[in-house]
């Protein structure tokens, strides 16, 4: 069977950097840091008090009261991103197209805010009932299902939950389904909203969170900072996109998944390297074809050093030439939604020739001696990019994107 080509024809987002792709791209180009003091209930009982929150956001501006009874914050973000993506793609799916279209959304926590507030109601506030829609609101597939329902996508739809790799796994699976002829149009990406008391409290326990900033690859890094938000892309079979005259933002040409089969939290160089090499092999590209890598770059000592070792292993003598940045330094770690928002840094590089920087870089780390595009965005001609995601549990997913043509 001939494999189909798969292109990106639309993108949408709401994340700490902005409520649209245009705003997000501008913020990435300007090196804006959207990490700041958290505004959540019971903050005084947390030791971690910073995060990348979506600010100036009123759900009522986007959804009706009836809709909000069913939409957790992560579903709201996913629907807002999907709406922008479909509009950007210029797609108004008719009934027949809807049959061949689906949606795959990555999320790690699903409706975590709904869990948190419902537990608070029954345990802390002593209430004896919770809202009747708690179950459909908190389930991990709620975002995928509401996107499917809103746009009449009646083909294959599901959610993917692989912690910090959820978005890349989701996008990679949607890509594979179009490539193999299972579907023509797929909406895909990820969404996360864990910035609530219970969500942060759980993360505090692992002792990997920073109290002050996310500074990936900097020797004085102090850990990860959480963010929230969503990004959704329209993936389309190439001939379908070409025939309707769609603007092609990028072509997804490689994807690979590997597992460390090692430790539940510590990453492995081997698993990361095999995923990067696998994505290059899948794309039929040599390592020197890649000009920019959007790093997983969490700002933890464990990730940053392992990732740099893996890049040196795969890119060899070219490792020092390839540009590498972690936009988590700007928007925080969106956990299950992170790969999707970070893919916007890849489409920014491919469409605008701008490499989003790694903010907060202060002290060189000899173990991370690569070109991490420190602190300021850079102009560069980019035809090929890679996006890394390496999850707790040792589950890795890497995508390769090239410029649309």
């Amino acid at each position: 069977m001939t494999r189909k080509r798969v292109v990106v024809t639309g993108q949408g987002t709401i994340n700490p950097l902005g409520a649209s792709v245009a705003d997000t791209w501008d913020a990435m180009a300007a090196g804006v840091c959207a990490i700041g003091p958290l505004e959540i209930d019971d903050l005084e009982r947390l030791s971690i008090r910073i995060g990348g929150q979506v600010r100036d956001y009123d759900p009522g501006d986007h959804f009706s009261r009836q809709q909000l009874a069913l939409y957790d914050r992560f579903t709201q973000f996913a629907l807002i991103a999907a709406d922008e993506a479909l509009d950007d793609a210029g797609l108004d799916l008719d009934s027949e197209q809807g049959l061949a279209s689906g949606v795959v959304i990555g999320t790690a926590g699903g409706g975590l805010n709904t869990w948190d507030s419902s537990y608070r109601a029954v345990y802390a506030d002593g209430k004896n009932r919770v809202h009747p829609f708690v179950v459909p609101k908190l389930m991990n597939n709620a975002a995928a299902s509401h996107i499917s329902m809103t746009y009449g996508l009646r083909g294959p739809s599901f959610s993917v939950s692989t912690a910090c790799s959820s978005s890349n796994h989701a996008i990679g699976l949607a890509f594979s389904m179009i490539r193999d002829g299972m579907s023509t149009i797929m909406l895909t990406g990820g969404s996360e909203s864990m910035l609530c008391f219970g969500g942060i409290k759980a993360w505090e326990g692992l002792r990997v969170m920073s109290c002050e900033a996310c500074r990936p690859f900097s020797a004085d890094r102090s850990g990860m900072v959480q963010g929230e938000g969503a990004a959704v892309f329209v993936l389309e079979e190439y001939m379908h996109a070409r025939d309707r005259g769609a603007t092609i933002l990028a072509e997804i040409c490689g994807f690979s998944m590997t597992s460390d089969a090692g430790d539940i939290v510590m990453p492995s160089t081997d698993g990361a390297a095999r995923a990067m090499q696998g994505a290059l092999d899948d794309a039929g590209l040599a390592a020197d074809a890649i000009q920019y890598i959007n790093a997983h770059g969490t700002g933890t000592a464990a990730n940053d050093r392992t990732e740099c070792r893996a890049i040196r292993e795969v890119f060899g003598s070219n490792a020092k030439q390839v540009m590498l940045s972690s936009t988590k330094s700007m928007h925080g770690h969106l956990i299950g939604g992170t790969g999707a928002v970070e893919m916007l840094a890849c489409t920014l590089a491919l469409n605008r020739g701008i490499i989003a920087p790694t903010l907060g870089y202060q002290v060189p780390d000899p173990e991370c001696d690569l070109d991490i595009v420190p602190n300021t965005a850079r102009k560069a001609d980019v035809t090929c990019t890679m996006s890394n995601a390496f999850a707790f549990g040792g589950l890795n997913a890497v995508l390769v994107l090239k410029a649309g043509s």
Partner: protein, 96 residues
């Protein structure tokens, strides 16, 4: 160093490091116990729960060979841990 706190801490560390408590001495180096990152975090959690204290510790600022956390809690030996815990308990007492 009080005997009770020393006994509690060696018991917790022995359990996490999967060694006999008699093998531990005040001078035992934590890195020689080859505990993985989760075992270290669980050890601190167990000590915090026992004394209702908060131990300042960030896994990212504790590199190998440098066991002094940036916030000042010295995890290098059992003796330094006991001293640090005693200080945190004393601080707590001074607040109440």
């Amino acid at each position: 160093m009080t005997d009770r706190i020393y006994a509690d801490i060696t018991r917790i560390i022995a359990e996490q490091a999967m060694v006999d408590v008699d093998e531990l001495t005040p001078m035992t180096r934590v890195e020689d116990l080859e505990m993985d990152s989760l075992a270290v975090v669980e050890t601190l959690f167990a000590i915090e729960e026992l004394y209702d204290i908060t131990i300042p510790f960030n896994a990212n600022t504790m590199d190998s060979g440098n066991t002094m956390d940036s916030e000042g809690f010295d995890l290098s030996t059992i003796s330094t841990i006991v001293t640090g815990v005693e200080a945190l308990i004393a601080d707590k007492g001074s607040l109440t």
